[in-house]
Assembly symmetry: C2
Homo-oligomer: 364 residues x 2
Amino acid sequence: MRQPEPEPQSFNRVLSSMCTEPHPDARAAAERFLATNPGDPATYEAVADLEAQAVEGLATLAAHPTPSDAAGYVTSGGTEANVQAVRSARNRHEGSDAEKGERDINVVAPESAHFSFHKAAELLGVELRTVPLDDDYRADPEAVAAAVDDATALVVGVAGSTEYGRVDPIPELGSIADEVGAGFHVDAAWGGFVLPFTDHAWSFADAPVDTLTIDPHKFGQAPVPAGGLLAREDAALDALAVDTPYLETRSQATLTGTRSGAGVAGAVAAIDALWPDGYREAAERAAENAEWLAGELADRGYDAVEPELPLVAADVPESEFRALRDAGWKVSRTGTGELRVVCMPHVTRAALRAFIDDLDRIRR
Amino acid sequence: MRQPEPEPQSFNRVLSSMCTEPHPDARAAAERFLATNPGDPATYEAVADLEAQAVEGLATLAAHPTPSDAAGYVTSGGTEANVQAVRSARNRHEGSDAEKGERDINVVAPESAHFSFHKAAELLGVELRTVPLDDDYRADPEAVAAAVDDATALVVGVAGSTEYGRVDPIPELGSIADEVGAGFHVDAAWGGFVLPFTDHAWSFADAPVDTLTIDPHKFGQAPVPAGGLLAREDAALDALAVDTPYLETRSQATLTGTRSGAGVAGAVAAIDALWPDGYREAAERAAENAEWLAGELADRGYDAVEPELPLVAADVPESEFRALRDAGWKVSRTGTGELRVVCMPHVTRAALRAFIDDLDRIRR
């Protein structure tokens, strides 16, 4: 009745994904923990210990004040982490009543915020106020300041935007949140494993960040599914807890119930193998590749957005985009239709050269 | 800085989990697809095709009217599937306005409903009305009928309850939902791979079921994370869709963003290997083990709940429960404190004999 299973594709021509080929150690660890569930720590004790290690590793990257004691957990990905950050802020907002839904609460985020914030708003019944960007695709602090009010439960800053790889002015946004008594969340889902090797201000050390998304399964080179949510204070996670009887745990703060032990073990193994030197090398290589690609595209007359983190966007016509996809390149587009190439660790200079060669052939 | 990784435990003494040792084919498939993301089908085409196969397989088990064309997807687990069922019903309920939160909408579920429904209610801002069970731990249709009203968006029936493995009177509950124009959801997360080999009425063929949870990573012997949400009509999933720009897909109906290709591939491989004969054999063996264990416990004077599906609950004193855990047995308790043993496929008769031997030793 069924066809034989297709082979999983190689990453050779994948220029669209924010995930990447896992580190070999991470793959091996994930395989060993395939049948475990960190959502049931009383049964699966080994993976519960590993999760504490993963959180400590992520907290170290994000300059948490007390990494060994940081609140957080390994999520299914950035979407879960962002949804949970909004949920926590909603539940903690003064005057809120989580039982009844929150008609009046709002969340202020730049237009560049990941669509998981739209999903969160729809799920959680809060208003999402998206505010315009500045001329270089970053959150405009003045626009954010104009949008917040007493009903603002959360301000969102993006440290590595999905479309252009931009880093918002995190300290300024944190101050604005602080002034109105709102929580402040930084979405570094993709950027979090690159930013420690840059001069950007993005972390717990740089601003009054309450919660932060940082995904091992993106630049962290862990296998899917391994996202990360961190919080400065335990109270942010406590606001997510729902009592559960039969798991021999007091409560479950996660969005999902059963979770992937493979993701947790893979994250720990990747961080062990790569932090900090391996991640630094990967970040530098990716940055060089992005610069190179943007230069090549600009040389050919395309309007290329100067890369800030290793992500290149350029105004390539629809017909050429289609031809590149037909040639087997996995590429995607920004909301306004620009070609978007994410220079993940699996994206080599040789692959980018072949990509440019194909583009030249298509243009002829 | 870090300790060497602990070994993942064996399943030998795990009597508490609703997950199990994956089938070898499923493990192999999961390992091949560790680095893929079904949340990005334009990039990861192979796993997108596999997901359609997984949904068809689940829909076949659940007697969906058109399995090859069924609406559904592979979730991170039963919690996501149940949350999404509540969300879909909320969004589809007449007069609802998802943007504003839903103060007035309610969901009616038996007290035996999984705690994911409590999580869903808190997340989604709907009222959860839990109604008492009958004397044998099943939903009482009269109590459900008394609880529903015009603001009821969803009635929940459980086909294999978490605490006692009970199957609610699904057809009666479906009729009650129908009468008030509410949606009807069946939570067969754990029971779904056992129920096809019983006389219970639980599926799309047995009642006006709108949505159904059925998890490959439980009795389906797929690796974590692989849950399943099915819907009778596409509209139930359409009500979950949030537009997303950069993934080259029209919309994303899932709760999480990035998802596990390993879970999807593992689910397909498990269903290929085991449906129907392998699942039938596993279900029969599990039922015999549960009967045997309940009998042994009753012989020793414990008040054991007669198993309906392969799950045994018995009134074992706290001190003996603690001693069993100290002896290395992973056991859990019901909300009222009874010992709870889930006879999953990895639970052998030999293990249960050893468990009873340890219990005898403890009682001496």
